[in-house]
């Protein structure tokens, strides 16, 4: 159970291996990877900068992990990596890995973690388009709704 906030990219395969750590009781590893998109509406994105509130982001993501562990006791491993700084289209932004003996728990817990991460973890995206404007990405109502469905 670990959370990392980092500028650097991550290696998904190495992260799965490290989390499983040789435990052959693990029958399912689900991963979610979020990537930087190249277009917003009809405008091409040059790059995207992620600002975050370091201490709170770490604590909040740990709280989200803890909630997932209480909700699915059969969860046997979780890993969250969130990048910050300036990223280019195609770059990886976020990684969530969940482990369990069977897939259903791992799938559900990964969705739960992402739904909470989107609307509760203190990160903000600013996109720069070809037109030269940089603008803060607006939060989506769907993200709040996605979180509320777990309550």
């Amino acid at each position: 159970m670990t959370v990392s906030l980092q500028r650097e990219d991550f290696d998904i395969s190495a992260e799965i291996d490290r989390l499983v750590d040789g435990r052959t009781s693990v029958g399912a590893a689900v991963t979610f990877t979020g990537l930087v998109r190249d277009m917003v509406h009809d405008q091409r994105i040059l790059d995207m900068t992620l600002e975050h509130y370091p201490a709170m982001a770490q604590n909040e993501l740990e709280r989200i992990e803890q909630q997932a562990r209480s909700r699915w006791p059969a969860l046997t491993g979780t890993r969250i990596i969130h990048r910050f700084g300036t990223l280019m289209p195609g770059d990886r932004i976020v990684l969530v890995i969940t482990l369990s003996s069977h897939r259903q728990v791992a799938f559900e817990a990964a969705e739960f973690i992402m739904d909470f991460l989107k609307s509760r973890a203190p990160f903000w995206k600013k996109e720069r388009t070809e037109q030269g404007e940089a603008s803060w990405v607006a939060a989506k109502d769907e993200d709040d709704k996605a979180r509320l469905r777990w309550q």
Binding site: E51, Y53, A55, N59, H82, S119, W136
Partner: protein, 83 residues
């Protein structure tokens, strides 16, 4: 106490953090936002629509009716867009 600002709130105010003593009239988060609106042009712009401002007390999300209490670090930011 320390006040910290992120994203467009930080840009409107022109500061990422400041140390300040709150007036005694500020009891809850809503009072705090109303008081912030009165502190100058940048603050007025940042806090123009209180519903779009999220607040954290000592790194925990707080509702607008929550008491500010003895928080040492109060953060102000827009709805989050990570992931």
């Amino acid at each position: 106490m320390k006040l910290v600002y992120f994203a467009w709130l930080r840009e409107h105010i022109g500061l990422d953090e400041e140390r300040i003593d709150l007036p005694a009239s500020v009891k809850n988060v809503r009072d705090l936002i109303n008081w912030q609106q009165s502190r100058g042009e940048g603050y007025a712009r940042a806090f123009a629509d209180p519903e779009t401002v999220r607040v954290a007390l000592d790194q925990f999300h707080a509702e607008h009716d929550e008491a500010v209490g003895t928080a040492e670090e109060i953060a102000f930011f827009p709805p989050m867009t990570g992931g």
